[in-house]
Amino acid sequence: MKNKVIGNTDIVSGILDEQNEFTSVYSKGQAWLNELRIAGKNAFSEQGVPKFKDEEWKYTHIAKALGEHYHLPHTYSLPANQDLSNYKLLDANTVTLVYINGIPVPELSDKLISEGVTAAPASDVENSSEFKTFLGSVADISNHNFSACNTAFLNNPCIINVKAGVQSPKTIQIIHLLGTDDNDSMCFPRTLIHTEKGAYVEVVESYYSLPNSNQNFCAAVTEIIEEENSHVDYYKYEDVSDSTILTTNTYFKLQRDSRSESFTFSLNGKLIRNDLDIKLTAENGHAELHGIYLPNGQQHFDNHTLVDHISPHCYSNELYKGVMGGSAHAVFNGKVYVRRDAQKTNAYQSNNNILLSDEAQIDTKPQLEIYADDVKCSHGATTGQLDDDALFYLRARGIGENEARNLLVTAFSGEALNEIPNETLRDVFADKIHRKLSVMSH
């Protein structure tokens, strides 16, 4: 694709122009994606970018943050001497798939050779069109602007499939590298995870900006479809630059007796918006959803979660923790729906926040809507500051002020971190938190 900057004052028509050109280049590839792509384009041209008055975007003025024009990136290569190990979160037993601006980079990716486990770009998957029934089946393009936008640019999604009864022995880490050295690039990574009956897989989806990349925008979509009695551990790790705007839409569909653990860790970025939608569609589904967000300076992080209890006897447990420094702004909106048929539901939700400075801000809104009568549900949100008495206590024992703050915030976020089943990742994340805290302003 050639380098092109559109001087369009209207971001939506600018994106659509790019999409037209994109389609003319890519429709020859994965033909089974054409229909979806058209549907995405239509949905996006109808909705455009979320507006001020959109209730779901009340505190996140993304149109303003995005500015005017974006174009597809012209360069897909990793800068010379770039060391991938900086991006790998786990060492042993991990298969790494590298995507630059949503385009797979086979030279940098591992080939997964494991009986019954597929993890590759669609172009490398035999009979990839078999996934047509799944791709786009849970992403809600009629209500989610950026899911629609992502779908309009659908090209070569990452496909992870685990066959019935197979427990993937490898963790799969997807490394998304974003941005280019010219201005205003946009990209649309897409992932599909499908576990067949009784299967298990652990996936880490991580987002980084390329070094020296300029202002850029990434709208990622991940769909996770779990068949009966299967289990997915899914981690989202976001460490992009202060000039990257990142939106993610993540959809889970849980069938009978299936289980999901998701952890969303927003470490760095200019503006991050995560939408996590979990549908418990059949009995005895179990969803854990946890997260930590640490915006500092001018950063703006927004988490919207929706747990939809459609069927009876399901369980969901949600804990999100936020620490805000500088004049950062965080948003948490957690919806839990318990539908009329979803008797014997257990649904728990909690969101706790610490503001390190007077200028930092949090808008938190737990929303519980219950239409069944025999359920156990709770929700709660707290916002506070670091405990001065505790801080003084630690300092009076010889612990320096920064270290003391660190200890307290680590203890605070630890509660969410302890929900992570993978101990290695827990330690890695704890270390990331530690590093971020040491630069956070109070």
């Binding site: 505790a390 206590y393 630690l394 300092r395 024992r397 612990i399 002020e401 200890l407 307290l408 203890a411």
Partner: protein, 250 residues
């Protein structure tokens, strides 16, 4: 070791210490008694460097250095320890992790290598025995869910771990039953080595039966209004504070 001259300090615009003088020499034990609200905890907090308190005048020298200019952590590293009247609960931070961080930060300030896990455990075991505290308490969060007595004992345990030069105990005896009181007193006495100094704030002469002070002072209305030896404590126990208040009024 510690020289306080004409110290005036207050909080939220209210003057509480109104020209306080006190000298504590190496190895000495000073008891401070006085009615509620007279400023004892204020003095302890000002010594530890709590910045809610404003120093309005006077000077505090510790081993010749101006304490007032130092941060709380630097005071602790210089060898000052405050056993709090009301120890704070810190959820999520384990006692052991907290103490290891503290011990090693203090060691670092002294140019010493950090203790490794093994040596730290050995030290901890020894000091736990001193205050007859269960090892299991160290894996719990700092003071969280501790009983009043356990919190006080934990303060003495920390003191034993950190080995300060000057320890200020703010009503460490309050709320202790007689057995716990003895344990705490034994802990303190074990650390009396002729060099380490103590300022013991208490309402009860009972404690002073176990920790025998070299000097007893009465703090009243922000000043030390009377000083004496351990007999003064007995006299206060017997007669209360009214006679001192009268003396001051005259």
């Amino acid at each position: 070791m510690l020289n306080i001259k004409d110290l005036r300090a207050g909080i939220e615009g209210k003057e509480i210490l109104k020209g306080l003088n006190l000298s504590v020499g190496e190895g000495e034990v000073h008891a401070i008694m006085g009615p509620n609200g007279s400023g004892k905890s204020t003095l302890a907090n000002v010594l530890a460097g709590r910045d809610d308190y404003e120093v309005l005048g006077g000077s505090v020298l510790f081993e010749g250095n101006d304490l007032i200019e130092m941060s709380p952590e630097d005071r602790a590293r210089a060898g000052i320890f405050l056993a709090f009247q009301y120890p704070v609960e810190i959820p999520g931070v384990s006692n052991a992790n907290f103490l290891k961080t503290a011990v090693n930060e203090i060691r670092k300030s002294q140019g010493l290598e950090p203790l490794d896990s093994k040596d730290f455990l050995i030290l901890m075991k020894e000091k736990l025995a001193l205050v007859e505290m269960d090892k299991q308490m160290t894996s719990r969060a700092v003071n969280e869910g501790f009983s009043g007595g356990e919190k006080k004992r934990n303060e003495i345990f920390q003191m034993a771990m950190l080995q300060p030069k000057l320890a200020v105990l703010d009503e460490t005896d309050s709320g202790l039953d007689i057995d716990a009181l003895k344990i705490v007193a034994n802990g303190v006495n074990a650390l009396r080595d002729g060099k380490r100094s103590f300022v013991v704030i208490t309402h009860y002469q009972r404690l002073l039966d176990y920790i025998v002070p070299d000097f007893v002072h009465v703090l009243y209305n922000g000043q030390i209004v009377k000083s004496g030896t351990k007999e003064l404590a007995l006299e206060l126990e017997e007669k209360g504070y009214d006679w001192i208040k009268n003396e001051v009024a005259v």
